[in-house]
């Protein structure tokens, strides 16, 4: 795998002086799905806009498919499809015409078979002769996706594609994403929904206040930062954590019937064996044991807090 998008030290200061990107470095591998997580105002849209040529970076360089997005904008942009965060569409245009318009802009002749395929995949075929202002919000977002896919991009940016979107569309969208992934299309999506990143991304980047805090394989990230919890149900409740167990990170829940032990999966030893032994020595009787991994959301929140 080689980096299809290379972002080197990109800074963006808007006209009002606000620095929305503070030196972003990021390599995006060909064929991967990268989820960019970050709170509102983190700079996700700004970053995507600089890659796509909508915002001029103040400094730094970006290449897509080896083409500089400024010097070689034509070749670079041909590879890129963009589904913007806001629903920007010409209200009076017909759906199919407007989708074909996008293909034209990218320098390609009409391809009716492809248009039909894309529209069908997004359940828009029945609406192809409707005007855009006759569509619901969810349908409009489908049109935006169709417009981005119609020129057969190799790199697809989805800027918060599922914000305020119904379950149906979400399902359709992930089906499309899955198909694109099989075709080797590189996908970058920004999202607030951490479950989404968790479910479909190969790698996860966290951005906050114009800085990339980390980019890591999803599994590794969960592993590295993931703390696990073991919930131990006791046959008989206790009033407080017994003194003999004070060396462990324990807390008491459920009226003293549940001991919660949190531990780090990174550690050489998890301490579980000795804890169980010590519990037995302290005379506690176990009824049930359960473990759970902390979610990406918790990881995310703690990361952003650390860097606040």
């Amino acid at each position: 795998m080689s980096a299809i998008v290379q972002i080197k030290d990109v800074r963006k200061a808007y006209d009002d002086g606000f620095e929305a990107l503070k030196g972003v470095n990021l390599d995006i591998e060909e064929g991967e799905i990268l989820a960019l997580l970050g709170p509102n105002g983190a700079g996700k849209t700004t970053l995507i806009s600089t890659i796509c040529g909508i915002v001029n970076p103040t400094s730094g360089s970006i290449t897509v498919g080896g083409h500089d997005v400024v010097e070689g904008y034509r070749e670079a942009r041909k590879l890129i499809g963009l589904v913007p965060q806001d629903i920007n569409l010409q209200p009076l245009e017909f759906v199919m015409n407007n989708v074909n318009f996008s293909r034209g802009l990218f320098g390609k002749p009409r391809n009716d078979a492809l248009t039909e395929e894309v529209l069908r995949d997004l359940s828009l075929w029945d609406k192809r002769n409707n005007r855009i202002n006759e569509l619901s919000g969810g349908m409009k977002r489908r049109v935006l996706i169709a417009k981005a896919l119609i020129h057969e991009p190799r790199v697809l940016f989805l800027d918060e594609p599922t914000a305020g979107v119904d379950v149906e569309l979400r399902k359709d969208m992930w089906a499309v994403v899955e198909r694109l992934r099989k075709d080797g299309v590189t996908i970058i999506l920004t999202t607030h929904y951490i479950e989404e990143a968790e479910a479909i991304a190969d790698r996860i980047g966290v951005i906050n206040k114009g800085e990339i805090l980390l980019v890591e394989e999803k599994e590794a990230l969960m592993q590295r930062l993931g703390r696990k919890e073991m919930r131990i149900e006791l046959a008989e409740g206790v009033e407080r954590v017994p003194g003999a167990l004070s060396g462990y990170d324990l807390s008491l829940e459920g009226n003293g019937h549940t001991l919660v032990y949190s531990y780090d999966t990174r550690g050489e030893r998890t301490g579980i064996t000795s804890l169980l032994k010590d519990m037995q020595a302290a005379g506690l009787v176990l009824r049930d044991v359960q473990t759970s991994q902390s979610s990406l959301e918790e990881i995310f929140v703690s990361l952003v807090k650390e860097n606040a």
């Binding site: 915002v55 001029n56 070749e75 920007n88 010409q90 015409n97 034209g104």
Partner: protein, 253 residues
């Protein structure tokens, strides 16, 4: 060259034009006819021939210019302002289109619309007056250059404007007066000397004069001056457009 891209913009803009066909064609034809009735018949009957041309015929080039200027300007300004306003401009900015191709798309479409309207008005005027066009090739050349230059000006206006008000105000406050004071309906030789001199600073005078020359072989200013003026004006607009794309002025953050 991204020809498909240019054509896509053209088709889009033309669809907009034909969607409002009545407004696009009927209204200029109607207002031209009214001008003929009011100026040509009512006032013209009291005005002598101007250098051997009947007043009704004399105003034809000016009438065409008046409408063509307004239409080219308005179509181009609206064509780029609206996508900027509703945000669909992102599509054009992120497409593999050069600045020249974007301009060729928007300005070319607006100029073509202006040209079509100009020719329709010319056809309409044949119903009212007898005209022979002495230099048809120059006539078309002046018309095309005017359409292009004012479409360029409209493009600049559409990018500059931040509100619909600004978009409408400039044509109303600047362009329309210039056209009316540019000898559309009279020869500046009919003015007192002071106002003749003032008129020479009005760029539209050179357009109307050159255009009228292509019809009747007579002009307020030398034809060469008209050609020079329109060329300089067109180049100046190109320079501003070039600067806009270089800096991303009001197009890109």
């Amino acid at each position: 060259m991204n020809w498909y891209g240019i054509i896509a913009i053209w088709r889009f803009e033309m669809a907009r034009f034909f969607r409002s066909l009545v407004q696009s064609i009927v209204s200029p034809v109607l207002s031209t006819s009214l001008y003929f009735v009011v100026f040509g018949a009512a006032i013209g009957s009291r005005i002598d021939q101007i250098e051997g041309v009947s007043y009704g015929a004399f105003i034809v080039p000016g009438l065409i210019m008046l409408t063509v200027l307004q239409q080219s300007l308005q179509n181009a300004s609206f064509g780029i302002y609206f996508p900027k306003f509703i945000g669909t401009i992102f599509e054009v900015l992120s497409a593999p289109l050069s600045a020249f191709e974007i301009v060729a798309g928007y300005v070319g479409a607006a100029a073509l619309k202006g040209l079509m309207i100009g020719l329709i008005i010319l056809a309409t005027s044949f119903f009212f007056v007898d005209i022979t066009i002495q230099h048809p090739v120059w006539m078309v050349a002046f018309l095309v250059l005017t359409c292009i230059s004012f479409a360029l000006l409209g493009f600049i206006l559409g990018i500059w404007a931040k509100t619909f008000e600004q978009l409408n105000l400039v044509p109303l406050l600047v362009v329309t007066p210039l056209v009316f004071l540019g000898g559309s309906f009279y020869s500046i030789s009919m003015l007192p000397p002071f106002w003749q001199t003032v008129s020479l600073f009005n760029p539209v005078l050179y357009l109307v004069s050159g255009f009228r020359w292509s019809f009747f072989g007579m002009s307020d200013v030398p034809v060469a001056a008209s050609l020079a003026a329109i060329t300089i004006f067109t180049l100046a607009c190109f320079a501003v457009v070039w600067w806009i794309f270089r800096t991303g002025y009001r197009l890109k953050a």
